[in-house]
């Protein structure tokens, strides 16, 4: 069954992107659908890494508040909350995303050899 969906940005989307992964995937001989699917899975990995990086900086009460805001998609409040609780948050999100991107690129390099 095919399903057309409109997708949304997340609260951290202005900080990180997967263009470099997209470029790397473009160098492989994949169908459009395969590239799209792999990119989606790469996003899932990025997403988990960023959530873990943020949650690891919060205490139990703040974790719950953060997750509630995320579940409700209240991006502005998420930033208000996180900026009050975590120092150098944007840097930490960027570092975490770079780490997972590095791992994903390593996997792509492996299939090229």
């Amino acid at each position: 069954m095919l399903e057309v969906m409109r997708t949304n940005k997340y609260f951290y989307s202005h900080l990180v992107d997967l263009r470099s992964i997209e470029d790397e995937l473009a160098s492989l001989d994949l169908t459009k659908q395969e590239k799209k699917e792999l990119l989606e899975i790469a996003h899932m990995n990025l997403h988990g890494t960023i959530l873990d990086a943020i949650l690891s900086e919060l205490n139990e009460k703040d974790k719950r508040h953060f997750l509630t805001l995320v579940a409700n998609g209240e991006d502005e409040k998420i930033w208000e909350h996180l900026n009050a609780k975590v120092e150098k948050l944007e840097e930490k999100i960027r570092d975490a995303s770079e780490q997972i991107k590095k791992e994903l690129k390593k996997d792509i390099a492996k299939v090229k050899t």
Binding site: M1, L2, E3, V4, M5, R6, T7, N8, K9, Y10, F11, S13, D17, L18, L28, D29, L30, T31, Q33, E34, K36, E37, L38, E40, I41, A42, H43, M44, N45, H47, G48, T49, L51, D52, L55, S56, E60, K63, R64, L67, T68, V70, A71, N72, G73, E103, L104, D107, I108, K110, V111
Partner: protein, 303 residues
């Protein structure tokens, strides 16, 4: 022959999904209380599914399109293939081999049913392993209590907040004795996540009533301990991977196996008489890679 192009795609897909599943499991373990708390309280599962947390934690239970679509970076229209729920297909196929009334299955029926379960759950499901087996593979499961996991474990320490809010799971109480293998851990300090999962998803089976038990005593001694079994409700389609942690129930009870409160809840037997018919077959998980807990049809395909 698989082309290079296809192998690139398959390699990356398999590797990245594995990485994601592992990360998701670790994330849940690390921030379990907060994640369970928000999942428990969020009113609409569909709405949560489309959020950042739902994407990560509920992806086993909702259509792939919803999961994948919800995490795209740019607001673009994409086409993705939904994962078709094949549970009804499984139930249709099972209905042709599983008797209406609970009774021991014939060898032929056991073979057919184990083949069906192996196909749908993408794992090696068997009636026996190296000739070792239970007295039956189709029977009535009844509700058991929680088991003491380590010295000093009580209902106050046994459940997390989300579980305490589930009256069915909380009200079951703790069994007075220990499980067939004793404590799950020697002390609270040595208690691990694996121990927690073993108690949570345990079943009790009639080890005392297996064929040739006395002739193969040494083989059977270690065979049953924490042995993984696939337990399936053939009417409702609920299924889970359980482990054997206790012996029972007695033959006179009319029941053939018992399930922890979590097992009974997941199989759809947490209300009314709290018992019902299930298929229970061994899983030949040589590398111990299949986690305990509820599963969907096709959960382990491509793994």
């Amino acid at each position: 022959m698989v082309s290079v192009k296809r192998s690139h795609y398959r390699f990356l897909r398999k590797k990245w999904l594995k990485k994601h599943n592992l990360a998701r499991k670790k994330l849940h373990e690390k921030h379990k209380e907060a994640i369970d708390w928000v999942i428990e309280r969020f009113p609409a599962k569909e709405q949560l599914a489309s959020s950042a947390i739902g994407t990560l934690m509920l992806s086993n239970f909702i259509p792939t399109a919803t999961v994948l679509g919800s995490i795209s970076q740019d607001p673009v229209e994409i086409e993705v293939v939904s994962k078709v729920d094949r549970t009804n297909q499984l139930l249709d196929e099972l209905s042709q081999s599983v008797p209406d009334k609970v009774r021991p299955l014939s060898g032929d029926e056991e073979l057919k049913i184990s083949a069906i379960l192996s196909k749908y759950y993408a794992m090696d499901v068997r009636t026996d392993i190296n000739g070792l087996r239970l007295n039956r593979s189709f029977g009535v499961i009844g509700a058991e209590q929680h088991l003491v996991r380590f010295p000093g474990d009580t209902m106050a320490t046994h459940l997390d907040q989300a579980e305490r809010n589930n009256k069915i799971i909380y009200s079951s109480g703790m069994a007075p004795g220990r499980g067939a293998w004793g404590y799950f851990a020697k002390s609270k300090a040595e208690f691990t996540d694996a121990d927690r999962e073993r108690e949570k998803w345990y079943i009790a089976v009639q080890t005392f009533s297996v064929p040739n038990y006395n002739q193969r005593l040494s083989d059977y001694r270690d065979f049953f301990k924490w042995r993984k079994m696939l337990v399936v409700n053939p009417k409702g389609g609920q299924a889970l991977v359980a482990d054997i942690a206790d012996s029972g129930p007695a033959l006179w009870t009319g029941k053939h196996l018992g399930g922890s409160p979590e097992v009974m809840y997941s199989l759809g037997f947490s209300e009314g008489s709290r018992k019902g018919p299930v298929l229970y077959f061994f899983i030949n998980d040589v590398d111990d890679k299949i986690p305990l807990g509820p599963i969907d049809v096709g959960s382990y395909e491509n793994k």
